[in-house]
Symmetry: C2
């Protein structure tokens, strides 16, 4: 995790927050360098398939990897998963149960309307084949296997392929294998980044092409997802993680300092912001952060003083960040004005880290201000909808109206096709 000393943390006026955040977010989920590199990898994988993927695996993950190492199927995952420590398996079981329980309520239902002229329907269908990206940091992330796999399975996805980078020692992380077994993935493709995205999008000998690619990744994976998004569905372009804590009087500075440090622990690019109207709280926070004995993580921590609790909440909402946490006496009132964050954690007890693992909500969230239009990963992301139209006679009035519009739009065969039904 690297780390540096954090002394002389400063509190800045709220007016600077928007500009600071814009600067921190510059480049979005990826930059020109990552775009160019990802494009080259995609072209290579489209041409050379698994061999091209293997080249990137050897370069970044394991220099001794062979093609046969790229795949792990259900029996392997089950076998390796059983070797995970009992305590970790129990923790993943609990997380799985809770994530499932909340996502079960998101199941889509058909829409139907009938009148004298027609029966109209919107019918949900699960996607056939989905690829889930599960990144690797200093360790594997079994939690992301649950967050992508649970909604896919609840939607009824027929085939679920996970892609996660190989470790140097050629072994699959037992906790990851266990989590992948919990969501019953069909196959683990042991590669990450742009190569995995390309393999999932266009298929290789080892894996067929999928209909949609979901899940987070590094900037190269994000660039690759964007590049393939005209040919395959993608969920979102997840960039560096973000948290805006809105703290009011009564919040505990030492606990909040841990939340900020946890956010910064997501690595370089991660941003942890705290806004408060309360000067005493801000002072305590500066002390708590500066006193942090352990090495400080690589993300940035920024503190702002707001004129009042309303302005603090408004600034958080305008930023449309991945996470918002509300702590202190004004939290409940402030919650009403937050409707553009990926996820809101309400009250000092509701650490963001609960949402990362065990609360039951999804941790794949929109970053970099994309919460203006994007949402947490949901069951709906694994479903598509077909309209179904069934007309019944007499349709004369509709024929006349439709043909009138069609003629105006220069579509005389459309008009003729309608009039053949009058």
């Amino acid at each position: 995790m690297g780390g540096r000393a954090l002394t002389g943390t400063r509190v800045r006026p709220l007016a600077l927050m928007a500009r600071d955040l814009e600067r921190a977010r510059r480049g979005g989920a990826f930059g020109e360098r990552e775009r160019a590199a990802a494009a080259a990898v995609i072209a290579d994988v489209r041409r050379h398939g698994d061999l091209a993927v293997l080249r990137t695996v050897r370069r970044f993950d394991d220099p001794r990897a062979h093609t046969a190492d790229l795949l792990a199927d259900r029996p392997i995952l089950r076998r390796v998963g059983r070797t995970a420590p009992r305590e970790l398996r129990a923790a993943l079981d609990l997380a799985h149960t809770r994530i499932r329980a909340f996502h079960e309520r998101q199941r889509p239902t058909a829409v139907e309307a009938s009148d004298a002229a027609a029966t109209l329907r919107l019918l949900p269908t699960p996607l056939r084949r989905v690829g889930a990206l599960i990144p690797r940091g200093t360790s594997a992330y079994p939690s992301t296997a649950l967050m992508t796999g649970v909604p896919a399975r609840l939607a009824g996805v027929r085939e679920l392929v996970a892609a996660s980078p190989m470790t140097k020692f050629e072994e699959i992380d037992p906790a990851l294998a266990y989590a992948l077994s919990l969501v019953d993935v069909d196959l683990l493709y042991r590669a990450g980044g742009a190569a995995a995205v390309a393999a999932l999008a266009y298929g290789t000998k080892a894996i067929g092409p999928v209909d949609k690619i979901v899940g987070p990744g590094n900037a190269y994976a994000a660039a690759a997802k964007w590049l393939v998004s005209a040919d395959v569905g993608i969920d979102a372009l997840q960039g560096p993680s973000e948290l805006v804590v809105v703290a009011s009087r009564g919040a505990d500075a030492r606990t909040l300092a841990l939340d900020l440090l946890a956010q910064a622990e997501h690595g370089s690019g991660a941003v942890a912001v705290l806004v408060s109207e309360n000067s005493a709280l801000l002072r305590e926070l500066v002390s708590a952060l500066d006193a942090s004995a352990a090495p400080v993580p690589r993300g940035r921590i920024l503190l702002y003083r707001a004129p009042d609790t309303r302005a603090a909440a408004r600034a958080a909402n305008d930023a449309a960040p991945e996470h918002v946490m509300l702590a202190g006496r004004a939290a409940a009132a402030q919650a009403k004005s937050i409707d553009r964050a990926g996820a809101v954690f309400l009250g000092a007890r509701s650490a963001v880290a609960f949402g990362d693992y065990v609360a039951g909500t999804n941790h794949c969230l929109p970053t970099g201000g994309t919460a203006r239009w994007a949402s947490a990963l949901r069951v709906a992301d694994f479903v598509r909808w077909t309209s179904r139209v069934e007309m019944r006679p007499p349709v004369r009035e509709l024929v006349h109206a439709g043909a009138t519009i069609a003629r105006h739009e220069g579509m005389r065969y459309h008009a003729a096709s309608l009039e053949a039904r009058a």
Copy 2:
């Protein structure tokens, strides 16, 4: 609409259909040429704003246009709309009412779950600002104003900006103005293609940036939507229109010929396919098409002979086309196996053209096989979701499980943040 003679239509074996379609779809919604041109336009609009847009308007639409012509507000739209012929207004009223009635049933509802440890919510929020692209062919397309505007308004979008190319005579099409008034757009930006997409995505002096851009356009608009999609939400990359008719014994060849011609009328790139197990029907179709007196539209019409009704339906579904129409005795049975089309029209009475105008379903549909993962435009496309997490004590079991996973994932501050809540 151009047009050519259609003689010697040939029926091909079903085995060729997938390859033919793949070839017809090559390049997807846009090609390299459109991508490069759109990128240049976007860069120009980001630098020079409305003036850059005006340059493209002068080049493609009206050489005498001025900056002031770029905008039309509510009062203008209402005034011009009133000049539309009464019959056309009545037709648009009927379409509006029916589209509204069906889309009203799509309104999203919050998801909530509570247990001893937490209250979890997924709360929908309407997007703040949306841009709707309304292309122009030989005429304006008021129907697309309804198809984009109705779901946006039902979702509760705060500001709706329509963008549609100017006509040569500087006047707004009265039917378009009327339809835009029906859905109460805030502003019409009188430009199209990549320039309109860039202006909506990044804002100009005349219009602010939107949170999402929806609606169809030409290949340049599609390329532009893809290019800006890391910075703003988009709905889909609509390419050329497609129809696969699955016709079985009992279907009327002359009516189906009109449906195929109507599909081909969408212009070059449009594809109209008919598949049938019935040789007599196919022969009648060839005659009907070859006998077509009027000039034939520019799209392609392709006929295939299937070994049986099942194979015909399966081929249609595998193509995941924009529209499928099922006509003849096997239609109802075949409908069960179509779950990857944008829209299905069931029964010989259910002309696709009903769905284009007045049935009530949306005509903005996924093309080019993207129906594998994408759907018709829906109210859901104008909403985003925020998770809300509210933990309550005791959370000891969750703290322990969460911290166990966090430590395994190398996130010690996450663990500490959780343990501060035990």
